[in-house]
Amino acid sequence: MIDLSTEYLGMKLKGPLMVSSTPLSESIHNVRLMEDCGASAVVLSSIFEEQLSLESRALDHDLSRGTESFPESLSYFPDLDDYRAGIDTYLSHLVRVRGSVSIPILASINGATAGGWVRFAQEVEAAGADALELNTYSLATDPRIPGSEVERHLIELVSQVRATVKIPVAVKLSPQFTSLPNVAAQLDKAGVNGLVLFNRFYQPEFDIEELSVVPRLNLSRPEELLLRLHWTAILYGNISADLAITGGVHSAEDVLKGIMAGASVTMMASAIHLHGIEHIASVLSEVQRWMEDHEYASIRQMRGALSRRSVPDPSPFERGNYIKTLSSYTMRRPALQ
């Protein structure tokens, strides 16, 4: 019997494939189906502090606009007893999801202020999240802020959250750090239980007909996996936090590669959007078949098999790889033509 189980953030998971943050998990029905199809854990979609602040301010503006201006219409809306903020909806969804499935449910939060991070972390912990994924998506657009400052801010936030909650904490990183291993090591030192590689950027689309730029999130493509594999393989064994891969995991082969690079678990979202939640089951059965064919007894056995420290020639992970690839590409070009 092949053992597909794995450990992530100190939790025993029944398989190597989790569902990463996706709007699909906003339906309890979907989360149940994910569990039935073999997903070993689900990360709920992220709650964004800015979004909550915006909502709060927008509600205030919308209800205040035009009031106390004209004697016949001193207000335009009834004053309802309560307005559920986004966080309330999120927490009640978390509670309901948690009660509907037996697999671990991870909450994902994205704060904008130190206070917001800590408050959200406490609230999701209290609501019963099995673990917490800190979604640290931020974009440095201010030329006055050096990279070191961005890193310092990240570590500080994560430390505060880590010190606040008891549940395991993973940090979902962006790949854009000058020295990712150093950032990983600092986070490791700060006590995070896992690193999730990597967040994907919202890259705005340019509409040249309308002369406008519109926000857009494309589904991940399998090619994106390579970047994740690369950095997982480099980090594996050098930090004590667990590693998880998200972004570009579309097939059984991708799962296997991820584990072999050193990930404790791989996460899927775009492929589910493309092929349906049932895709999880077919990927897992293919993983199992591959493992049978290749006589792997367990996920544990293959984890890190192709990590930087486990391969006979680590040069592909280093600068030499760059030179080699370039030259081989140059050589191939005439043939392509």
Binding site: L52, S56, D60, R65, T67, E72, F77, D81, T89
Partner: protein, 1214 residues
């Protein structure tokens, strides 16, 4: 009696609280100033707040006050305890049912915020015209004079009606009492129970109809018995005063607050007495306290139970020493011998004298007077003036007080400087803008001071007549004694001006008492502010030795992310300077109030307000006032000196806030005013205005089309005229064929613009090298103002384009037509006014408008100025508002009059052929007036007819000549339009509208559909969409919007269009043209985005587009004329839904607030609303797809394709 916690609220809330707890069925309909009572009831129902018996009352909104009274009558007959709230015209609509309810001796209370009736003008403000119109209905009439009394006597009325079986009209003064915030002792459930005899309720229910013990009520009676049966009620009316007094006595024992049917206050040996009822009693009592303190022998008698009038109780309440009496009525009955209370007093005294029961030492002389109409101020100074008049041997009778009647000389003189204000009372005045939150903050301050200190507190708020950039004045009093001053503050210890720009045109320091504190929100710091103050302001600060503080509130607000909401910042400064509370404690209390007010809306809002409070004090600075007046400029007049005399002297005085000083002779009897006046009232409210980039503009005209305020305009003119243009005046080469040699200009009026930004949003042009730069871009107004004013003046001097050269079916061309509706005071970015403006561009010079009461009648006809204007020939829309409920009929009447006069003119023309000549007569009678050119030619003919008639003499009767001269203008085609909102068209006026549409007459109806009663604050109408929150639909409207378009289509002969300017401006223009051209009834339903939808109106046109794209608002036209051409009259002008309803709806707070408060309900309603959209689309598209003339019976296709298959299979199986 027991000690009790006080509460701080207004009379509407206090009264609604009592009525709600004592009712089972509440029938409501919005009307100012009573609407909040219905709103509170609906809100409490949503909160599942129980009545006294643990049950949540049923709240039903009706289609009119007549409907509400009918529903209440029915509920009462079926045994429920039922109430309603109303005022003014609404109360008049209830009168027929009031006769019935009283005639049937049914226990009932209605609560009325007494308000003026529309006569020469509508007024929303307080007086007793409406309640006095009900005095013959048989309702008992009980009057409350203050917020506390309104709460107390509301209960007395509910108890007394059950005990007497006589229904009660409980009233208190609109605004002065209904909207005054005061510290009062609330009526507890325990108080109610102590007074309520449950047996009276059982009896009420036993008298009701029931099939279990059937009875018949409401019979028809004949001459034999009607009279006797009518007299049978007498014992009940005779018993009622004693019952009321008994309830008052029990109430006094329970609460310690005692009332009498007639309460006398003053010297026991008074020789002069004033008799009155309502809020004026507060001011009068204050005067009495003062005057008796100086030894004057005066007193007042407060009337509480006006009907049934207890003459005996009345007479015995007056001191025997009284020699002269003034009876004050807050109403006017033209042609009567005196107003109602006066007549009752005269009768009571005369009857007493006749019976020999008078106890007076000598029979007093009684005079009557009118005061306080439409909330006109009534002050202790006026009371003193009346007492002085009463001292005269022959005191003036039928006098007026508070105005200067220089026509029939009824008014009494008084010394306005006389003041009885308690020196221990702190009086504070705050000038703010509606949008800056000043009033809200002051209401909070009253609550803080009233509840956290031993002080009594009072707040009263005055608003100007505009909906955009409106100025609010808050009058706050705090002191150790209960505050009964029912008049505005004229001597303030504290004055805050929250808007620096007010100083330019207002003297905000008029009411500053010597040594008062003056707080100014100023962009200039303490060391530079002096140079920016007008001379008069500087002089007042020096003369009255004011302590002067400044704060840059907007910088603090913007830093805290609060935009233009400076409320908590200015509130913090007020507490810091006034010292009403220790500073730290005040800040704590402000934060507590912030948490309470904004907590529900989220932490971010609370936090930013906290930040603003914390930052406020650091920016507050005391000004070291220089010793001399140094300014070289002064406060500007509200209306410039160059305006026509009436506009400058009369409307200008009103605009400046000094309308109270105008004498009777300044105002025309009958209420007629000139149009073309808004142009003189430069309100200068925009911080940013659009600036034209002529280099990239494509001259599409969309900006001109959508501008709700007509402040952006285009002209094409002879290039030679540009020679005298100001240096910064911009032009471009016109993009019209044949006009290439001329110049095009797009110009903004900087001081009329509201800064709404719709023009920039609709501009389709983007710079090729910087996408954010459009052909119109918002820029700071201040530095542009002077130059752009010159440019605007030059632009206005340019000639208008010849209308006959313009293709009025093209949006691009329409920009060149003069709008005859400009600079309205509607909300910035209003969705209605662009349609009204378009109407005037197309047909304005021959346009009659019948306008239903509502937003459009307020921005159209509220003084001081009107946006309706005239063209260079002096022609323009003529406008009138009859009522809310009858507008369609009113407009139909106009049409009938126009047609009848035209017909008669044609008859006269024929008769006068001998002098007019065959050619002129035939030409006039057969004129083709379907085009602008044809209409112009007809005008020329009519001018010729008039000139011939003037010179005419022999061969005709003078009567025919005079007659034709008087009505010759009717020979030029006229356009009659009936305008109103959805509250009118869908609800209160629907019966009339339906009848008018069925009349076949050539009338046009424009429904400005905002989907709520916008003018009264957003109450649900039958146009409100499913799932939207509105007042009276706090839980989201559960059913779908009425499809008025299809109801009109069902006639087959009515032209019908649904338009949305943001969805298709072309289709809108086509619809207006076709509707006008249709020789029969036409109706246009115009989607009008509204501030009551809950989003920034900058996006109004985007939302209109989304409404169309989602299929929520399909664009359609039904043109009966097409049938004659063998075509389907039903045309669908928008595409099949391309976005889900949610994508449109969830951009508006009216939908999202339900999703936030009751997500499950919201989800369900949204689902059903999406179904509505799909069902409607199927019906519309099926109708549009009908072949031929569209006369195929109207059968919609099956709702789902699968059904077809299933049916087919089923048949096969059979």
């Amino acid at each position: 009696m027991k000690s009790q916690e006080t509460v701080i609220l207004d009379a509407n809330e206090a009264v609604a609280s009592v009525a709600y707890r004592l009712s089972e069925v509440i029938a409501i309909y919005p009307i100012t100033p009573s609407s909040p009572m219905g709103e509170w009831s609906d809100q409490w129902k949503e909160e599942r707040k129980p009545n006294l018996w643990g049950s949540v009352p049923l709240i039903a909104e009706l289609q009119s006050e007549g409907g509400a009274a009918g529903a209440m009558h029915g509920a009462l007959q079926a045994g429920a305890l039922s109430t309603t709230f109303t005022a003014s015209q609404g109360l008049l609509l209830m009168i027929p049912n009031m006769y019935k309810i009283a005639g049937e001796l049914t226990a009932n209370v209605m609560h009325v915020t007494a308000r003026a009736l529309a006569t020469h003008a509508l007024s929303i403000f307080g007086d007793h015209s409406d309640v006095m119109g009900c005095r013959s209905t048989g309702y008992a009439m009980l009057c409350s004079n203050s917020v506390q009394e309104a709460a107390d006597l509301a209960l007395v009325a509910h108890i007394a009606t059950l005990e007497s079986r006589v229904p009660f009209l409980h009233f208190f003064d609109g605004f002065r009492t209904s909207h005054e915030v005061n510290k009062i002792l609330p009526i507890s459930d325990e108080d109610i129970r102590a007074l309520l005899d449950e047996q009276t309720i059982v009896a009420h229910k036993q008298r009701a109809l029931s099939p279990d013990r059937p009875i018949l009520r409401g019979t028809a009676q004949n001459p034999d018995v009607f009279f006797q049966a009518r007299e049978a009620c007498n014992p009940f009316y005779l018993a009622t005063p004693a019952i009321v007094q008994d309830v008052m006595d029990r109430f006094g024992r329970q609460t310690g607050r005692s009332y009498k049917l007639f309460d006398y206050v003053g010297a026991a040996d008074a020789d002069r007495v004033i008799i009155l009822m309502g809020s004026g009693a507060g001011a009068a009592e204050e005067a009495i306290t003062y005057l008796t303190g100086t030894g004057e022998k005066v007193g007042i008698l407060k009337v509480r139970l006006f009907r049934p009038f207890d003459a005996s109780a009345f007479l015995s309440a007056l001191p025997s020493t009284v020699r002269s009496i003034a009876v004050l009525d807050r109403t006017k009955e033209p042609g009567s011998l005196g107003e109602p209370l006066y007549q009752d007093v005269i009768t009571a005294i005369a009857e007493g004298a006749a019976d020999g029961t008078l106890h007076f030492e000598s029979q007093p002389r009684v005079v009557g007077g009118r005061y306080g109409l439409s909330s006109k101020e009534f002050t202790p100074a006026m009371v003193k003036g009346i007492f002085e008049e009463l001292s005269k041997a022959r005191a003036k009778n039928h006098f007026t007080i508070g105005i200067d009647d220089d026509v029939t000389h009824t008014s009494l003189a008084y010394d306005p400087e006389f003041s009885t204000e308690d020196p221990r009372t702190i009086r504070a005045l705050f000038y703010g803008l509606g949008s800056d939150g000043t009033v809200g903050a002051n209401k909070n301050s009253i609550k803080i001071i009233g509840s956290e200190t031993d002080n009594f507190a009072q707040g009263y708020f005055v608003y100007d007549s505009k909906k955009s950039g409106s100025i609010t004045t808050s009058h706050l009093r705090f002191g150790p004694q209960p505050i009964t001053s029912t008049y505005l503050i004229t001597q303030a210890n504290f004055i805050a001006c929250h808007q620096f720009s007010f100083l330019e045109r207002m003297d905000v320091l008029t009411a500053a008492a010597p040594g008062a504190v003056f707080l100014l929100n100023s962009p200039y710091g303490a060391d530079e502010i002096w140079a920016h103050l007008p001379r008069k302001t500087q002089a007042t600060i020096l003369d009255r030795k004011l302590q002067f503080y400044v704060i840059d509130g907007y910088t603090v607000a913007q830093t805290a992310g609060m935009g233009n909401r400076i409320n908590t910042i200015m509130q913090t400064c007020f507490f810091a300077i006034s010292g009403v509370l220790p500073r730290e404690e005040a800040i704590q209390q402000i934060k507590k109030a912030i948490k309470k007010t904004y907590g529900k809306r989220g932490d971010a809002v609370v936090q930013q307000n906290f930040d603003a409070v914390d930052a406020a004090l650091a920016h507050l600075h005391k000004v070291d006032v220089p010793g001399i007046v140094s300014a070289t400029f002064d406060i500007l007049p509200a209306i410039p000196a160059g305006a026509p005399p009436f506009v400058r002297d009369v409307l200008g005085t009103i605009a400046a806030g000094y309308g109270d000083s105008l004498p009777v002779s300044a105002l025309a009897a009958g209420g007629t005013f000139p149009t073309g006046t808004a142009q003189w009232e430069k309100r200068n409210i925009a911080q940013h205005i659009p600036v034209w980039d002529e280099a990239i503009c494509i001259q599409c005209g969309k900006c001109v089309m959508v501008c709700p305020h007509a402040v952006i305009r285009a002209k094409v003119f002879d290039a030679k005229l540009a020679a005298s243009a100001p240096a910064t005046f911009k032009t471009a080469k016109p993009k019209w064929r044949g006009m290439e040699q001329d110049l095009y200009s797009l110009q903004v009026s900087p001081e009329d613009c509201t800064g709404c930004q719709l023009c920039v949003e609709v501009c389709p042009v983007k710079s090729k090298s910087e996408a954010k730069h459009k052909a119109l871009n918002m820029e700071v107004q201040a530095p542009l103002r002077s130059e752009e004013n010159k440019n605007w003046a030059f632009f206005e001097s340019l000639p208008s384009v010849d209308r006959s050269l313009v293709n009025a079916n093209q949006v691009k061309d329409i920009q060149l037509l003069d709008p005859l509706f400009e600079f309205s005071g509607a909300c910035a970015g209003c969705g209605e006014t662009a349609y009204v403006k378009l109407l005037t561009q197309l047909f304005g010079d021959r346009l009659y408008i019948a306008n239903a009461t509502g937003c459009s009648s307020i921005y159209g006809g509220n003084l001081p100025t009107t946006p309706y204007t005239v063209n260079k020939q002096g022609r323009g829309p003529t406008w009138s508002n009859s009522l809310f409920e009858d507008n369609a009929e009113f407009g139909l009447g106009m049409r009938l009059a126009v047609d009848q006069q035209k017909q008669h003119a044609e008859e006269l023309l024929k008769r006068l052929t001998p002098i007019l000549g065959e050619e002129l007569v035939t030409g006039t009678l057969s004129a083709d007036q379907s085009t602008e050119a044809g209409i112009e030619q007809q005008r020329e003919r009519v001018a010729k007819i008039k000139s011939v008639l003037e010179a005419a003499s022999a061969g005709v009767t003078a009567s025919d000549v005079l007659g034709l001269a008087a009505i010759a203008d009717s020979l030029v085609r006229k356009s009659v339009w009936i305008l109103g909102g959805d509250g009118w068209a869908y609800d209160i006026g629907f019966g009339g509208l339906d009848h008018v549409l069925a009349s076949g007459q050539n009338i046009n109806v424009l429904v400005l559909d905002t989907e709520v009663y916008s003018n009264t604050g957003g109450q649900m109408s039958k146009s409100t969409p499913r799932g939207a929150v509105a007042k009276f639909a706090a839980g989201g409207k559960p059913n779908s919007k009425k499809d008025l378009a299809m109801e009109a289509v069902s006639y087959g002969s009515v032209y019908v269009a649904r338009v949305a300017m943001g969805g298709s401006d072309m289709q809108t223009v086509k619809a207006f043209q076709e509707a006008e051209a249709h020789n029969g009834p036409s109706i246009i339903l115009a989607y009008s985005h509204c501030i009551a939808h809950g989003y920034d109106l900058i996006h109004g046109l985007d939302q209109q587009k989304a409404a169309v794209q989602s299929g929520y608002w399909p664009l359609m036209r039904y043109n009966p004329a097409l049938r004659e051409e063998g075509k389907n009259p039903f045309q669908l002008d928008s595409k099949a839904p391309s976005i889900p309803l949610k994508e449109y709806a969830y951009r508006e707070a009216r939908y999202t607030m339900l999703a936030r408060s009751h997500p499950d309900v919201a989800k369900e309603l949204l689902h059903e609303a999406q179904d509505d959209v799909e069902r409607q689309w199927r019906v519309y598209s099926a109708r549009a797809a009908m072949p031929g003339r569209g006369e195929t019976p109207h059968i919609a296709p099956p709702e789902k394709e699968e059904d077809l298959v299933a049916v087919g299979k089923g048949r096969e199986e059979q």
